[in-house]
Symmetry: C2
Subunit: 178 residues, 2 copies
């Protein structure tokens, strides 16, 4: 897809609605993808994100060692791929090859962007104080990309056990909130 640089101060608007994301890492010559729903914004600028990557996940060691990852935001057309990524471990399978995902080089980190996702956030780990207790990492988004064609992306929102809410219409109300 045609990707455009996206302003870092606006990144919160991509993650605040709570989409399922695909987290990519690269470690020892191997890339991996995992589905992740446990993330939240922590700061607007620079954009900071807290997320939980379980120590049971194959991505955990890569994230801890490299301190780099990419948060890729998929849309509903990738629902089956999201579930496929969540159903199998990167220990066993090269998920890019198995599920037809296209890795692209990132600009600031070693982990790849996923071409099929409408937005990609290159991240560095900036705080690991809650990793031991909760597997919770604090990331800083250092570079963001978006497909400018997709104005109202049909993101996926995990309700558990394979049920996903697909993003509906957007309403706009006068608000002083950021």
């Amino acid at each position: 897809m045609a990707r455009r640089s996206f302003p870092l101060p606006r990144v919160y608007g991509l993650l605040e609605p709570g989409p399922v994301v695909l987290l990519t890492t690269a470690h020892r010559g191997r890339s991996n993808v995992m589905a992740m729903s446990w993330h939240t914004m922590v700061e607007f600028e620079p954009p900071l994100v807290a997320c939980v990557v379980s120590s049971r996940d194959y991505s955990f060691a890569a994230l801890k060692a490299t301190r780099q990852c990419v948060i890729n935001i998929p849309t509903a057309d990738l629902a089956q791929t999201v579930v496929d990524c969540g159903n199998v471990s990167g220990r066993l399978v090269d998920k890019f090859a198995a599920f037809g995902l296209t890795p692209l080089p990132a600009s600031q980190v070693g982990a790849p962007l996923i071409d099929e996702c409408y937005a990609n956030l290159e991240c560095r780990v900036v705080d690991t104080r809650l990793v031991n207790r909760y597997d919770l990492f604090v990331l800083e988004v250092v570079k963001a990309w978006i497909d400018p064609q997709r104005k109202e992306p049909r993101t996926l929102h995990h309700r558990g056990r394979g049920a996903f809410m697909v993003a509906g219409r957007t309403i706009k109300l006068p608000s002083r909130m950021k």
Copy 2:
């Protein structure tokens, strides 16, 4: 509304999709409500939630002092109320009275449930290590309530600057994910 106790191990399914919530606190005889989108699950059981309550918010002092709150989940019919709650500080206004919200006593905490919300999660603060740096609290959900009538709630998901995505349809795929 007719409220029913909701099993704690299933609470993650309410918050994982990323809805805007209304956080209630009570401190020194005064209840308050704030709109919040920066939250994530951290553990399934007991259900732990990380959330950011800014030190600029009136609720911050109450949460820090009482270590208790309720996460109330509104639906699209309350969109204007959510914005109203976000546009004004509890320092100046009794938001329950001003916006027609009905406080109900909680069972485990001093903060009130909001009757108009379809789910209510009574919480205690269990970790404040990241409060100084990020205003990030870790909460344990100690009691959960739900309106059993609402199977597919039209939750609100904040995209920034008063734009809210309204929850769309739910799709179901065979998944081994929790």
